[in-house]
Symmetry: none
C-alpha cells in the first residue's frame, strides 16, 4: 500500500483494535505428527468459535521467498514496508537489549576481542569466548573509564558471552559509518569511516575510533579480552508514529524487549506484562483498554518452540493462548486480529518464508465460517493473500477508521 493514502483517509474514532501476534505462528505439516501443523493439532475451542465468525487469510511478511527477522516481520505487521523502512543491525540489537533509544542515537553491536599487544592485529574476534559474567565486569570497567567522549555519552550494555551493545548519544551524530571490525582474524582493527558525506557521519566515525582506542588502553591487562570491535553501526530511524499516521493511541504489550523496541519505532506506548504468558498479557490489555485504541500483544512462546523444533511445546503455547482468549474477547474489541510476524516451522527449527495465517474478526469482516484457524483453512479465506504491510489498512477499515477514497 502506498504510504500516504491510508494516512490521508484515517479518521478519529472510538473503536478499539487488538492485534495479537503469536511469534513464528505459521508452520509446516509435520510427518512425525500425523502430517499436521501445530495449529491443526492444538485443541482450541475458543479460537475455533472465533474463527467461524472471522475472515481468514494469509500474510506475506516481506516478499515471496523472503525469510524475515523479527524486526522486518513486525514492521510489516505495523504497516511499515520492511523493504523501505530499514532498521540497522546495531539499532535492532540495542532494542533487543532493552535500551531505550532516543532520536539521534547511534547503536552498534560490539564484542570483546583479543589483539596482539605490539601490532594491534586481531588474534581472536571473540576473546576466547569469555563468559557473560566476565563480559558484564569488563563492560562496567569500560563504563567507569569511558562514560563520555567529548559531548557524546557512551551507553553500554553487556550481552551474552563476548557480546555487548554500545550506544552513542549526543548532538549531531549520523549512522552511516563503516565497521571497526576486520571481520576476520590476522588483521588490525580498521578505522571506522563515513559511508556517506556529512559532518554527522564524520563525527560518529571519530567517536567510534576514539572509543575503540581508549578501550584498548583500559583493557590492556585484561587479555584475552584486551580489545573491542564495533559493527552494524546505525542510527535510530525516524518513522512517523501511529498517532500521526493512523490517529491511533497505540500500546505494545510485550515481555521481550526486542518487540517493545520495534513498537517504540512506531511510537507505541510500551508495557511489560508480569509474565510471558498470554493470560498475563491479556490482563494488561484490560488495564490499558480505556487509554488506547490499538493494542499490540506479543507472545513469544510459539517462535521459541519452533526454533527448538518442539512440536508439543508449540501446541502447548497455542492451547494456552486459546484458554486465555475469553479474557481478551470479553473486552469486546471492535476488531481482533490474530497472526504471526513470520512462520517458524518446527521441522525447520528457524524462521521461514512461508505465508502466515491471519484472522480478522469484526462485525463487518465477512465471516468465512471455516471451522478452524490454521494454515490450510486460511488459504481459502476471504481476506485472501495480503502483504503484512497491508494488514493495518484492513484493521482500520474493519474498525470504521478509514474514510472513503475519492467521491
Amino acid at each position: 500500500m502506498t504510504t500516504g493514502v491510508i494516512e490521508s483517509l484515517a479518521l478519529e474514532a472510538t473503536s478499539k483494535i487488538v492485534l495479537l501476534v503469536l511469534d513464528g505462528l505459521g508452520d509446516l505439516p509435520d510427518p512425525a505428527h500425523r502430517g499436521q501443523t501445530p495449529l491443526e493439532a492444538a485443541r482450541t475451542p475458543n479460537l475455533d468459535e472465533l474463527a467461524r465468525a472471522s475472515a481468514l487469510g494469509r500474510l506475506t511478511p516481506v516478499a515471496p521467498g523472503i525469510t524475515p527477522g523479527s524486526g522486518p516481520g513486525h514492521l510489516g505487521l505495523f504497516g511499515y514496508d520492511p523493504l523501505t523502512h530499514l532498521v540497522g543491525r546495531g539499532v535492532l540489537e540495542a532494542l533487543g537489549a532493552g535500551i531505550d533509544l532516543k532520536p539521534g542515537d547511534v547503536a552498534a553491536r560490539a564484542n570483546f576481542c583479543t589483539v596482539a599487544d605490539a601490532s594491534g592485529v586481531v588474534l581472536d574476534r571473540r576473546a576466547g569466548r569469555i563468559g557473560s559474567d566476565v563480559c558484564a565486569r569488563l563492560v562496567d570497567k569500560l563504563h567507569a573509564s569511558i562514560a563520555r567522549i567529548d559531548d557524546v555519552e557512551i551507553v553500554l550494555q553487556a550481552g551474552k558471552g563476548h557480546r555487548f551493545v554500545a550506544v552513542l548519544r549526543g548532538p549531531g551524530l549520523g549512522g552511516a559509518v563503516s565497521d571497526a571490525d576486520p571481520h576476520k582474524e590476522g588483521k588490525p582493527i580498521p578505522q571506522s569511516h563515513p559511508l556517506e558525506p556529512g559532518a554527522s557521519h564524520e563525527k560518529t566515525a571519530r567517536v567510534v575510533n576514539a572509543f575503540v582506542k581508549r578501550a584498548t588502553e583500559v583493557l590492556k591487562s585484561d587479555a584475552p579480552a584486551n580489545g573491542i570491535l564495533a559493527r552494524g553501526l546505525s542510527e535510530r530511524p525516524k518513522f512517523a508514529g501511529y498517532r500521526e499516521r493512523f490517529k491511533l493511541r497505540a500500546a505494545a504489550i510485550a515481555a521481550y524487549p526486542m518487540y517493545r523496541g520495534v513498537a517504540s519505532l512506531a511510537g507505541m506506548d510500551l508495557f511489560v506484562p508480569p509474565g510471558e504468558g498470554a493470560a498475563e498479557a491479556f490482563a494488561m490489555v484490560a488495564q490499558q483498554w480505556a487509554s488506547h485504541d490499538y493494542l499490540f500483544i506479543h507472545v513469544k512462546g510459539t517462535d521459541m518452540a519452533g526454533e527448538d523444533g518442539d512440536f508439543d511445546a508449540k501446541v502447548g503455547v497455542i492451547e494456552a493462548v486459546d484458554q486465555a482468549l475469553p479474557a481478551l474477547t470479553a473486552l469486546r474489541p471492535d476488531v481482533l486480529s490474530i497472526t504471526g510476524d513470520h512462520s517458524t516451522p518446527v521441522p525447520m527449527r528457524g524462521h521461514s518464508w512461508h505465508p502466515v495465517p491471519v484472522l480478522v474478526h469484526s462485525k463487518v469482516c465477512f465471516p468465512d465460517t471455516h471451522p478452524r484457524f490454521h494454515e490450510t483453512t486460511c488459504r481459502t479465506g476471504s481476506l485472501g493473500d495480503l502483504a503484512s504491510k497491508d494488514l493495518i489498512a484492513v484493521l482500520l477499515a474493519n474498525a470504521g477508521r478509514l474514510d472513503k477514497y475519492g467521491a
Copy 2:
C-alpha cells in the same frame, strides 16, 4: 520484489534446483473435451504422485490481463521483471534464429520488399511473399557483397518467406534508432535516425542507412525483392547473470534457439538436447548435473499443440513428460518446479493472460496433498498466486539459498 534484496541474501550452497517449463502449459476447460483442460484430461501417474508431495500455486507472467510473448514469459520465470527488463524485437528475433548475440550487438528484424526503381517508393513490403528458398539465396547474395560496412560486421540469417535477421557487430554501436521501414506501402524507405542522443546510436543509424542503400544496389535486378526494410533495431541488453545475481551455476537445456537465447541473457550455459522430447532433455540434465546448480529445461510441445488448437496433442505431450519424469526425479533435485511461461489455451489457439499452474517440490515446500496438478487444484495451493518474477525467490528459499532478511 525489489531487485537487489534477493541478490543481497543469496547464499552459496550445494543444493540443486530444477525448473521444468512446459511452454504454454495453462489452458481453459474445453467444452469439446468434457469441460476438462489438457492437464486434467492427461493420465499422469508420476506427476500426480509428485503433486501430492508438492506445494501448488499459480503464476502471473507479467501482470493481470497481459498476454506475454516467449521473451517476457521466460524472463519472468528467470526472475527478471519483464516490465523493466526490456528486450527489443530485433534481439528476440535474432535469439530465436539461433544467432549467438555478443554484448554490443545490434539486431534487426528485416525483410525483402519491392521498391519502385525511379522514386524508391515501397510498392510491396513483403516482396510478393517470396519463398524461403529465394530468401536464402538473396541473403547469401547480400552477405557476399556487404559483409562489412566500415568496421561493422553484418551478420545475416535467412528466415521464413521474405523475412531475415540482420545483426550489426562492431565497436561503439547503440540500439536506439528508428526503423528503416515506412510501415505502409506508397512511401519511400525512411532514413533510420537516432532516438536518443549519443555517438553510438548515430553510428548505428549511419550503418543501417548504408546497408539499406547498398542492398538496393546489390538487389537492383532481383525484383520483386529489390529492396530491404529493417525494424525493431535493438541492442543486446546487459542483464546481471545468474552467477552474479543468485550465486547459481545455471544451465539451459532447450531444443529451440529462442529459449536458449533468452537464457543466454541470464548468463546460463546453453545445451541443445538431441531431440525435442522431455526424455532427451532429462538425459541431458543428468549429464550437466555435477557442473550446475540450477537447470532450466524447456519443452516446446505443449505450446505448439495449444497454438494448433490440438487438445489431444497437448495431452500427449503432457503424458510423455509424465512418462519421462522418473528420470528427472531420480536425480533427487533439492527443488523441482514445474510450470509454464504463459498459458496457450487450446480453444484460443494462441498465448493468453491466464495464470499458469505451478508446482514446487522440496523437503520444506508445504505439501498441499492435492491429488493432481492442474489449473483448479493450483488455485487453492499453498504457494498462492505469485508473479512469475517472484518464483526464483521461492525456489532459492526452498533450496536453502537465501539468508534471513534483517535481524
